[in-house]
Amino acid sequence: MKTITLLFAVMFSNPLYADEVYEVLLDSMVDKNFVTVERLKQDELQAFCSKPRSEKVDEARAAELREAALEGVPSPPGGNYLGDWQRGEKVAINGKGLQYSDDPNAANGGNCYACHQLDPAEAAYGTLGPSLSGYGARGQSAAMLKYTWTKLWNTHAYNVCSHMPRFGAADILTPQQLQDVMAFLFDPTSPVNRSQP
């Protein structure tokens, strides 16, 4: 009985096509520089979220994944949510990191502007995510800081199939870089919080 339950659980979390698709990708791709085919393997969350937006999700499973994501979020080093906004701005602008064409020894960027408006004076911003201009005015409470830190660390703690990368949980940015990005968002003197030009 236990085996059957387990088998069921495995079948449910991994759609039957997943292994087949993984095999096709393994046959179709090769290691390049420091990027290996190891990256093609999906974790549970990636497998769960590989569906069209319009498709209904299994809410119970979504809640489990959300819970697991939330549990894995650490407190910021030293309990400080806010670093240096000027360093954070550089992280937000930098679109490089972890592509096989990038320098693996250079610090990764957050590429925030690819999807979000931040400094209202910067015209080259993407619209895949919401505008974050004036983010600091949304509040500076402990709850707001914790919410934002969690969102940056692992967005799936709130929105399971969000398209934002897991900047902390996936080791894309360091805790220090995340503290700096936090300051870029919250600091009243940061360009994010200047008035529209």
Partner: protein
Amino acid sequence: MNNRFIKIIFAIVIGLWSATLLSQGEGIFDEYRDMLGDDNPAIFVIFDGEEIWYAPAGPKSASLEQCDLGLGPGVVEGAYAQLPRYFADVDRVQDIEARLEHCMIQLQGLAPDEVSAKPYSLRGDLGTQLEALVAWIADQSSGLAIAPGQAHAQEKSAYALGETLFYYRAGTHDFSCATCHEQAGRRIRLQALPNLTTHEGAAAAYSTWPAYRISQGIVRTMGWRMRDCMRQQRMPELTMGSEASVALQTYLAVNGAGASMTAPGLKR
């Protein structure tokens, strides 16, 4: 002045011009396109492609004239628009790149490794033979409706696989094709992103590749576009003509079916 010299001058002028353009956003590219009108620098590459098709090459010193792109040996006109499709001789679905690779190996006797060593240009290159051939062959379908094969079971499963791959999230950033291409009216930085799950979006994208990339000064193929999207998704390198590459192109071609081919297009 030979053809190559003209091309180098052209590449330098376009290169300098595009460096200025790149700093000014998307609107300026539209102006540039309007200014060129029907003139596309890809014309030089198209001429090259035609020459390469008819030139004897490889250990067998044969041209590609007997290559069957789906409409019979040597029929190039209209061939691109009905790809990807199932080919009985290899018992699989192929795109233009996989098919050309097959012909080079079979007809010209080239070694598989030799053919697939460097299908696409690196930045700063003046173009590869494959890029030139694809530019010419696509141009021979200009104005014709996109009509990929969907009658054979393997063609249908290539589409289904392509759709699944489109939504497949993996890698350090959890990206899939859908991350950027599942919604209309969005952009990344200043670059507009087509919704490739709709007919309009897929048609607009598929009909304009291969394309002359102004910022790179060369013609890029749809296979290259697939590979580079995978690079941007933080995935490893997608192999030219591979099952995944062909399946993704099948997904786009079928979604865009019925629209007219306008390739080689002109892109940022």
